[in-house]
């Protein structure tokens, strides 16, 4: 039996083909993104290597800035990989939501609830409620 979904596949996939001129623009974009990702990684590693979390037992008061910069830079990197390398940026809007929606919902909530509960575990309040 002939599968109709495969015929549709063929159509969509042929739509994705492009000519040499178009390819040149895409390659330029790829190399730009490569440069951005490399620079971000270098910045992250050198920051991590030179700025310490603790100096001789004393916590670095500005570490939270570094920590949040790491997280933001990571999200920037992830954005470039997903939107450009994985072409999610070129897909239809409803498909983008299909992929990113579960994340905004579940992972954001999971991170929030786990870290909140973990912080409570260390607080004196925890000893009161769980003898």
């Amino acid at each position: 039996m002939e599968r109709d979904d495969l015929i549709k596949d063929h159509e969509y996939s042929l739509l994705a083909n492009h000519d040499e001129e178009h390819g040149k623009a895409i390659r330029k974009k790829i190399w730009q993104v490569t440069l951005i990702l490399t620079i971000i990684t270098i910045v992250e590693v050198s920051t991590g290597a030179f700025i310490k979390q603790y100096y001789d037992g004393i916590a670095n008061n500005f570490w939270w800035i570094i920590k949040w910069s790491f997280i933001i830079l990571t999200l920037v990197k992830a954005g470039y990989i997903v939107l450009v390398f994985m072409h999610l940026g070129d897909e239809r809007k409803n498909f983008k939501w299909l992929i990113l929606g579960p994340y905004l919902l579940f992972i954001a909530y999971l991170i929030f609830i786990c870290l909140t509960e973990a912080a409570d575990y260390l607080s004196p309040f925890f000893d009161v409620i769980s003898p």
Binding site: N17, G23, Y54, Y55, I58, I81, M86
Partner: protein
């Protein structure tokens, strides 16, 4: 690429007979798989965050991972940075393979895909080295002194003993020697029960093995997929088909592996 965003009326889009997402069946379900797989990695990393947040202390990435092959210790995060760079570059060669596929440039696809496989093999081997080093531990391990656990190191060619007590506390000279002589226990290397990097938080090594191991297995699988598709490219299977979408599908998987590493790198090594 630009074709994906063409204007189509809603009734035509959702009226059946084709994907309302204007994306092929195979690609859509690769994405669905990646969403579920990403939720798994997300949960693993969140569990790691939970354990780390509820522990009194946690080892610092740049102190645990400061070794280079053939060079010894004293290179904080340099090797992991190199691994990260290799994985990013192999992601780039993959996206170039996909682009060549859209031009039906068989030779270009074969070249870039082979380079991607080489990058993947390099990464998996690096991870194997890192595991080996992590399991065997530093040369002198950790000792339990009157002040608590400390990692033992010798500077200046093995002459000067120093003790590293976490949180950046370093003791050297005569006081280090007397603490060292009074040590009541030693620990070397890491396994699922104990580890010298954080003797008080054994789950540290468990998370290291689980998260990097699960990711490493994904990289290994990706290398196998890429190799299979590479063989098909060389044999001309996709020329006959008229499009190289299979390269795009394994490409999605490969970029995902890179994406996960970006997060593992940040949360396990950097912060």
């Amino acid at each position: 690429m630009g074709q994906h965003s063409e204007k189509i009326s809603k009734s035509e889009l959702w009226g059946g007979g084709g994907s309302p997402f204007r994306i092929s069946y195979g690609k859509q379900w690769m994405w669905m798989f990646l969403v579920s797989d990403a939720l798994t990695f997300g949960s693993l990393l969140t569990a790691y965050g939970f354990a780390r947040h509820s522990a009194e202390s946690w080892p610092i990435g740049e102190e645990t991972f400061n070794a280079m092959p053939f060079l010894g210790n004293g290179y904080p995060l340099l090797y992991v940075a190199l691994m990260t760079f290799i994985l990013i570059v192999s992601s780039v060669t993959m996206v170039l393979a996909v682009e060549a596929g859209h031009r039906k440039d068989k030779k270009g696809v074969a070249k870039w895909l082979l380079l991607t496989v080489v990058g993947g093999v390099f990464f998996v081997s690096s991870q194997a080295w890192e595991w080996y080093h992590f399991i065997h531990g530093t040369h002198y391990g950790s000792v339990l002194t009157a002040e608590g656990w400390a990692v033992v190191e010798y500077l200046n060619g093995g002459k000067d003993l120093i003790l590293k007590f976490g949180k950046g506390v370093i003791v050297d000279g005569a006081s280090a020697q007397s603490l060292f002589d009074g040590a009541t226990a030693t620990m070397q290397g890491a396994n699922l029960i104990e580890n010298e990097y954080a003797p008080e938080v054994p789950q540290y090594a468990n998370f290291f093995f689980f998260i990097t191991g699960f990711h490493g297995f994904h990289v290994f699988s990706g290398v196998v997929f890429n190799l299979i598709v590479y063989i098909n490219v060389v044999r001309g299977v996709y020329d006959e088909r008229g499009h190289f979408e299979m390269v795009e599908k394994v490409g999605l998987y490969w970029h995902f592996v890179d994406l996960v590493w970006v997060f593992v790198f940040t949360f396990f090594y950097l912060v």
